[in-house]
Symmetry: C2
Subunit: 558 residues, 2 copies
Amino acid sequence: MSEDLFDKHRATLDRAVEACRTRHSWSAYSDAPGAHPGGEDARRAGEEAFRAQLGRPFEMDHPGPLVRQADEVSPYTGEPLGISYPAAPADTLFGAAKRAWPAWRDAAPTTRVGVCLEICSRIYEQAFELAFATMHTAGQSFGMSYTGSGTNALDRGIEAVAQAYSAMDRVPGEARWSRDFGTSTVTLAKRYRLAPRGIAVVIACASFPAWNVYPALLASLATGNPVILKPHPTSVLQMAHAVRICRRVLGEAGFSPGLVGLAVDSVAEPVAKQLVEHPETRIVDFTGSAAFGSWVEANAFPAVAYTETSGVNSVLIDSMDDPGPVLRALAGSLCLFSAQMCTSPQNIYVPRDGIPTAAGRMKPDEFAGALAEAIRAVSTVPRRAASVMATVQSAQTLRLLDQVRDLTAARGQVILEPEPYAHPEFPVARTSGPLLGMIDVADHDLFGEERFGPAAFVITADGSDQALERAAGDAAEHGAITAFAYSTSEDFLDRAESAYAVAGAALTSNVTGPMPLNFSAAYSDYHVTGLNPAGNASLTDESFIAGRFRVTQSRRPA
Amino acid sequence: MSEDLFDKHRATLDRAVEACRTRHSWSAYSDAPGAHPGGEDARRAGEEAFRAQLGRPFEMDHPGPLVRQADEVSPYTGEPLGISYPAAPADTLFGAAKRAWPAWRDAAPTTRVGVCLEICSRIYEQAFELAFATMHTAGQSFGMSYTGSGTNALDRGIEAVAQAYSAMDRVPGEARWSRDFGTSTVTLAKRYRLAPRGIAVVIACASFPAWNVYPALLASLATGNPVILKPHPTSVLQMAHAVRICRRVLGEAGFSPGLVGLAVDSVAEPVAKQLVEHPETRIVDFTGSAAFGSWVEANAFPAVAYTETSGVNSVLIDSMDDPGPVLRALAGSLCLFSAQMCTSPQNIYVPRDGIPTAAGRMKPDEFAGALAEAIRAVSTVPRRAASVMATVQSAQTLRLLDQVRDLTAARGQVILEPEPYAHPEFPVARTSGPLLGMIDVADHDLFGEERFGPAAFVITADGSDQALERAAGDAAEHGAITAFAYSTSEDFLDRAESAYAVAGAALTSNVTGPMPLNFSAAYSDYHVTGLNPAGNASLTDESFIAGRFRVTQSRRPA
């Protein structure tokens, strides 16, 4: 059965391995909901299934009493989802994982890879129901829930499986070794076993859980480790679906469902530290705040930790021929999911004496005004705003945004007030257009850290070199995942590329057009470098895989 | 010049890469001193150069005032080496490394790999002088100094370079990526840069430094990181030679010698913690005690740590046809370098009611007596003892051995007293034959931890399954690198293989004959698994390489 799964998904695996190698564009599943094999019926059925789940227990063969998750409230309706999940104590989850482990550990890597790819395929089958779950927990638009948190996140998961497969495949199963000692020849038969590291804890974030959970979960599973998944207490449902699918596929393949457990906690009583510090924990994958991420990195030992936190992403406006497409691209990126993505830009540097364009110098306030206008073209048009900005996941984000707005007004100029828009389908949806402030490079205390949510600054600097130095310095010191530059000077772009490479941020230069600026493609774009405080893990380099298993060997006379 | 070095060593690299892939037997350099291209003259010249160095400053273009290293005393002659080394403060070394870094970081991986392989080749050129340095610091025999600490250690270094090369080679330099967004096609040109992590600190042990230093030093250098090497204060000379060779080769290739610095400390004023905690440290490689290794693992953050410490290596005697070859193999392994190797066995389990052999059951005391006899055949014959046991590196080891002897006498039986032998060439050499005790599996407090040096126990257990459970349990809990089993039962060997695989110790079964039991072959034997407290790093799996560099990327419209 399990070998059948490997054969069944072999073509997908081969294409994923090849895409990782060449880093060209490829996707296992279409981004278009209309291309889903279930068709329009599947969408309808998915939405119905989602609605039918509301207010009811989440049925799953999983230990623990059912407890209603009070923290899970739809950012669209303001209503609690009212779903009860099995709430198993940590020791129960670790006990189940430990009992389930040996058979999984000893299974062939191809068996495990086959099961992992089947899990992806089942998640895709249920893509619509999971997309509605994402919408009403993370607060994303349906489109982003289906793609960014759906097919694209699955691609990142398949990428991790492909990299795990390649890494395991590079270790030979056996060798015949022959060498002279004095006048004798000694010949040994050697066997090499892949030894998984142990129980993995995956801690997910609230606003975009699948993007990091799928790679972490699947990298650990593929390399033979049990996984305990702890969703953010406000964003459980999609992750509960993923766990249920994992457990079903594992059970069907003859393994214990205990290999993947769900740890549900609450805002009032978090369990993340307890899971990280559990004596059986050997791997921790964490996505969330920089503060807690640093704690995880420093305290996970003896577990190995993979983190993605956050950073201050920057845009350098050095020079441009035509401001229009640049402004539209930037506006789109500032609006996308109300800038609640770890790749969203925040700090936009412009030269104090104006930006050279084909039509002459564009003054900073002129640029800021035009950018505000480009934002308004999205943020004040409800249908566009709904599909691009969606909602704000947490009420706390709006409170912080208010504070940043007041700080900005006190120090510089508020170019665009962060105003809600009326969602055409969900009248009480929690929404906010971006705050756009204009401040100076001297106001570093204001922009030198991440201001989570839709807050962006146009920052006047003496020139592009000062801007680059400040932005790359902040990336190195406070973390950054992305960086963006617009320049007509090859020389400047070269310097920016070098500086951001050292600072560990991925640079996108002179990109305009229909691709969201901060779109990150599985198999092609490395996500997070591990070189600055925005996280120590990279999707998906070899170090994301290598620590999850080791090699043990035996040898005897041949 | 640097590309010439890559071409010059291309054949060596290709063979090393291939050997890592197939894990067959290969060596870059012959183990036989007679095969050295310099011939007998080279040996004589090496010895003369070593002698000429005694009592004099170690000439090297390196910052820091020359300070006489009082802790460095030959275990053979009892005389201080009297050599002065440049003693640079940590900040000077970090400053030099930081200044030297950008050119090395930005160099092509092939350039760096070429330089690393040239370093290996130069170390081999000076093999004799370095072997005498090893002899009179680590206390090894000339033979082991030339091979184990020479050619074999260089093979481990080349293996690390080969793995680093392969890992870097798997990251493409660029890609053309094309994808539809709506009705438009977006095509981006992407560039991927290898981004070294930063300054690496290598902390060496006293008795076998090259084995771990060469791989650590070369893995970090090849992937683009500067290295600060801190030898053990009693064992500096060989490492100073290695640093001088690195600096010369780097300088000749047009790079700053500051890329490899020597940090010399003293027993009274150690600097290891200061180096590990230095804010510029990004990588730490540590070989030494389990206690300090644990501290390094827990405190290296934000640096990544690679450790090899020590463990309790075990031998399971389940059954055997002919005891003779087994006893000789065990005796050889217990005598080899007076069991001062991290791979030396310590705990030898036998069934309480005797070991089945072709000639009937061999009782535990009969086995212990025969093993003592086999040891004496080495340890009391000065010429054999000199070539196999050599000396005891530290006087502290003899003091600990005395304590273990008394504990053993109080709890069980001393089968063989740890007695010195008279070295035929060096009358005052610090030597000791093994202590062989006979105790019971109940005396776990005595054998459950590593007793460094020539101490071994015959441990009576109820049966082989109890022995396996105890030995594998100790390996998992207290660490172990090697394990050995002798059995005529395939079933038992299978169980032992599985249990030790889970415990993370490499198992050698039924090996007798001329190969030292604990011989570990570069390119073929993984050394340390990282799965138990004997260390978190493995020579050389992909995780030993993967954390030393990351990938940063840029993209722009094609």
